[in-house]
């Protein structure tokens, strides 16, 4: 097992999950409650990574974040280094690519919360933030946790986007799924087998957790 890649994978998956919790929850809360006609467009954009080839997203990001693009130039002038082939670049790619895995479970969980309870909370004098923390989230936590687990697990397994934006640099951007690809190319089959078995077990564990959460939802 490549422990550098292991640590990097956990960092990327953890950072992606946290970023999507912070960015995705407000978006999901808006999607769950809005009657705006833009809602369907936003929903479609959120779902896009489900069907868009990872290489297409990777290609756009490579040019969009690279040192020759306007955004890349701004980043370069701020930090002195390009965003592509760094942890930051991978994180941006990862957040975009995992948008549906977080926002969709969040949205359906928030939408399933009984509107009357939220309005009752308002009538009893709770602020919107207090309502969110004390009523909505306690009722929707299973869906939120499901979204977080799916995001984490999906980031661990990500390959195409990461390979294009990250470039498979050892210690910087080489995650576990890329280590498997690399080990197979180098004919290090036993290393590839070890890593693959752990990734398989992890994927099963993540899906088991999601199913446990899902089953519990009905029994409440």
């Amino acid at each position: 097992m490549d422990w550098t890649a292991f640590r990097l994978t956990l960092q990327l998956a953890g950072a992606t999950t946290l970023a999507l919790l912070v960015l995705g929850l407000p978006l999901a809360a808006w999607l769950a409650s809005t009657r705006s006609r833009w809602r369907y467009l936003v929903e479609a954009l959120v779902a896009l990574p489900l069907v868009l080839p990872p290489t297409v997203l990777g290609f756009y990001l490579l040019w969009g974040l690279g040192p020759h693009s306007p955004l890349g130039r701004v980043w370069m002038s701020l930090t002195g280094a390009p965003l592509t082939f760094t942890f930051g670049g991978m994180l941006v790619a990862s957040v975009l690519y995992n948008l549906p895995f977080a926002v969709r479970p969040f949205t359906s969980a928030l939408a399933a919360v009984d509107r009357r309870l939220i309005e009752a909370a308002w009538c009893l004098g709770l602020s919107p933030v207090q309502t969110l923390l004390r009523v909505t989230i306690p009722l929707a936590w299973r869906g939120i946790l499901t979204g977080m687990i799916l995001t984490f697990a999906h980031t661990v397994g990500e390959f195409g986007v990461i390979l294009m934006v990250g470039g498979n640099i050892p210690g910087v951007t080489r995650t576990l799924s890329m280590a498997v690809y690399d080990d197979v190319q180098a004919l290090r089959y036993s290393a590839a087998v070890t890593t693959s078995v752990w990734l398989l077990l992890f994927a099963l564990l993540a899906l088991g957790l999601v199913q446990t959460l899902d089953r519990g939802r009905g029994g409440r």
């Binding site: 020759h68 002195g80 470039g167 640099i169 564990l205 519990g216």
Partner: protein, 299 residues
Amino acid sequence: MSIEIRPLVWLGCLVLACGCGHPGPTPSGTGPAGADPTPANSSAVKVLPEVSAADSPDPVTRPRVRIAAASDLRLVFPELQRGFQTEHPQIDLEVAFGSSGSFFAQFTQQAPFDLFLSADLDLPQRLVDQGDALPDSQFEYARGNLVLWIGSGTELPEGGEGVDLLQDPRVTRIAIANPDHAPYGKAALAVLKSWNIADEVAPRLVLADNVAQALQFVDTGAASVGLVSASLARDPRLAGRGRGLPIPSDLHPPLRQGGVILKWARDPEAARALREFLVGPSGRDLLKEHGFQLPEPGP
């Protein structure tokens, strides 16, 4: 209740595991500062090694050369690294392998490497021409050879000519590196053209991302044979898993392999030291042992 608690406990473990990974320098010493969520600030890093390398043994500021190497160097590189580090124990090396063309594409986006070891001379020259590499830093370090690697699962007559073997109906898939961006793929295609069978075998070609993957396609049985680099086919792990048939080097343009130091190299002096090692006697000996031919010694 226990069912409700369990997922939380697991999530807690995951969060803890991530949290533990974050702080401080990486314990194994192989990961550069880029593992930190904030991308490595190269303008700061560039200054550090020059200032402090001489007086500080701190592993974080040790001179380090990040190498993007053509994948035909996969087998010889660990030995080159060992040889280099007995001469320069203070310099760390960090290598990634891939096809020369895909590295070239990454360099146009300023991929963070210091030294590029290509499998041709053209790409290093183009990097110099377009200002992405240090002027006059290019060098030639080896000449590659091709072999026709025949997987042990493929029954073919012993001692046949390569051109006949490839036309054998039992050869269902021929692996080569992608000629679009891998010099060994270009050379393999040139061999097929010299044999006048390029069109005939085209439907049976499988294109690998780089030459090491072409060999792996054969070794896993996905392809029957492959046109791969002689340096990789000497892998002791392949003993008993196939045989290699040398391809005469006059069938393709010479695989002259060159390198270059990139413009954004953090420590150009360390990169130059590695360049001198590669073209010097110890580097040449190791390359020769691994099936490479050598360019004429430089002045």
